[in-house]
């Protein structure tokens, strides 16, 4: 299987000198869904911000055969779609439509194509009809879905999501998991919502202290109680029941 993402020996220090990533090695195969779990401050968001060159640490990153370098940055940002945790950071335009069209417009597509992609992305997240709404008139769940649409409209090969289910009520969360199930591109999902990780991700990487502590089948990682508790996490109750039976 070809790799969508290869990371070797990635180091990153915060501007104040604290180490955020201390030698991360990770491979994500094309088409797979990879979960990233870890306690607060483990470096999950920092790692995700490296995947499209927003942050640049020391080390080697390859995205679909492209090396992370300045000259590849434009192509990499078309390949990797990054959904931020707070939809208020992602949705910055005056209308939902403008926001969803922002990415495609930066890709220099024809206006008809841009409009088509924006409408299609909004349909995919069940937000058709909200085109002319202002983001601050939407509910949190709606904003979360609109934020995902702003990335889907760019048709990325790799979808990267930071805490997609945080602050959602159970129904909205269920709805979002179903939505992510239906998106078949390579996905990388960082979250504390271990139930969601267990449902969506084939493999999971456990990140702590800026290092990958373990990578493997999601059930094996999340089901390892000792490993989980040693890293400030816990095996989700649903998974425990499944392991016992």
């Amino acid at each position: 299987m070809t790799d969508a993402v290869t990371i070797r020996d990635l180091f990153y220090d915060y501007p104040d000198g604290r180490s955020a990533l201390a030698g991360v090695d990770l491979r994500v195969a094309a088409g797979e869904t990879m979960g990233i779990v870890g306690p607060n401050g483990a470096g999950k968001t920092t790692l995700l911000l490296h995947l499209n060159g927003i942050l640049t640490g020391r080390g080697v990153i390859n995205i679909c055969g492209m090396r992370m370098e300045k000259r590849n940055l434009k192509a990499i940002r078309r390949t990797v779609g990054l959904v931020f945790q707070d939809p208020d950071d992602q949705l910055f335009s005056a209308t939902v439509f403008d926001d969803v069209a922002f990415g495609p417009l930066n890709m220099d597509l024809a206006p008809d194509e841009v409009a088509y992609r924006a409408r299609e992305a909004l349909r995919q997240v069940q937000m058709s009809g909200y085109e002319q709404n202002s983001p601050h008139h939407l509910s949190f769940g709606e904003r979360k879905r609109a934020a995902i649409a702003t990335i889907l409209s760019m048709d990325p090969e790799i979808l990267v999501l930071d805490e997609p289910t945080s602050n959602l009520d159970p129904r909205q969360r269920r709805n979002l998991i179903g939505l992510l199930h239906g998106i078949t591109v390579t996905k990388i999902i960082a979250s504390h919502d271990l139930g969601m990780i267990a449902e969506l991700c084939g493999r999971t990487a456990l990140l702590n202290g800026g290092r990958i502590i373990a990578v493997g089948e999601t059930a094996a990682i999340l089901g390892d109680r000792e490993l989980m508790e040693a890293n400030g996490l816990e095996t989700p109750p649903g998974l425990l029941l499944r392991c016992q039976s």
């Binding site: 940002r77 950071d89 910055f92 601050h136």
Partner: protein, 257 residues
């Protein structure tokens, strides 16, 4: 949380609402220039300008009370800056040109200036209120963009509209958190708490700006703002421009005569 939006009545339907934003912007700018350049003594002209505004308010179906309320918020600021004009002594004014109240010399020409400033600002501001209340803000921004207003300016306004409520929400949350713990603390303590709040609000806003910029970069932003263009002006727009500009320019010329 609930906020009063400046484009509160923009979802209504009326002849004014259906105008192209460019039409409204051009009419507004011309109106403001005409009003400001009208001589202060032309009271009749100002009355007619007022009638024009009243007519657009009626046409737009925006409650007159709303316009007056917002006007009441802004005009005092103008008056405050104009209030000192009569106290300035002009060398050209003779002894009969000034009154003395409580030992303070007040210049008559200065009084006329204050009156002019009040009337002109009230007219200009109410025209702007009608514009912003009858146009959805994003549409207004599109209009500015298509009139080739500097893109950076349009972008700044768009960010302002998008984030002002996010920031107000943050302030309200901080105030609630403060109020729930400050059970009748000393005033000085509360003032200090307010100072810290302003500081942390600044930092939060700054950090948010960084994240927003990151999310723009993630979607291929490279400093150029690309936008989509939409259809041309209708005959209704042309009719409105001709009538509005024809009327107001006539009033202005008559006022100067």
């Amino acid at each position: 949380m609930q906020h009063g939006f400046i484009d509160k009545y923009s979802d209504r339907h009326s002849p004014i609402h259906s105008l192209d934003p460019r039409t409204k912007l051009i009419c507004l700018l011309t109106f403001v220039v005409l009003v400001v350049t009208t001589p202060n003594r032309a009271v009749g002209a100002f009355g007619l300008f007022g009638m024009v505004i009243l007519l657009t308010v009626i046409l737009s179906r925006i409650p007159l009370r709303y316009v007056l309320k917002r006007l009441g918020l802004i005009v005092p600021f103008v008056l405050l800056t104009a209030a000192f004009l009569p106290l300035v002594h002009r060398p050209e004014s003779g002894p009969g040109d000034s009154l003395i109240v409580w030992g303070v010399t007040i210049d008559r020409a200065g009084l006329l200036l204050v009156q002019g400033a009040a009337v002109k600002s009230a007219l200009a501001v109410s025209a702007m209120i009608v514009l912003t209340a009858s146009t959805r803000f994003p549409v207004l921004l599109q209009g500015m963009e298509r009139l080739r207003a500097p893109k950076v300016l349009v972008m700044i306004l768009s960010f302002m509209y998008r984030y002002i409520f996010v920031i107000i929400d943050e302030v309200m949350r901080m105030q609630r958190a403060e109020a729930s713990r400050a059970a009748g603390g000393r005033t000085w303590r509360r003032v200090r708490a307010a100072g810290t709040m302003i500081g942390s609000l600044f930092i939060r806003t700054y950090e948010r700006a960084e994240r927003v910029y990151q999310s723009m970069n993630s979607r291929g932003f490279d400093g150029d703002i690309c936008t989509m263009h939409r259809p041309a002006l209708s005959t209704g727009d042309l009719l409105f421009v001709v009538l509005f500009l024809g009327g107001t320019i006539t009033v202005r010329l008559w006022g100067a005569a």
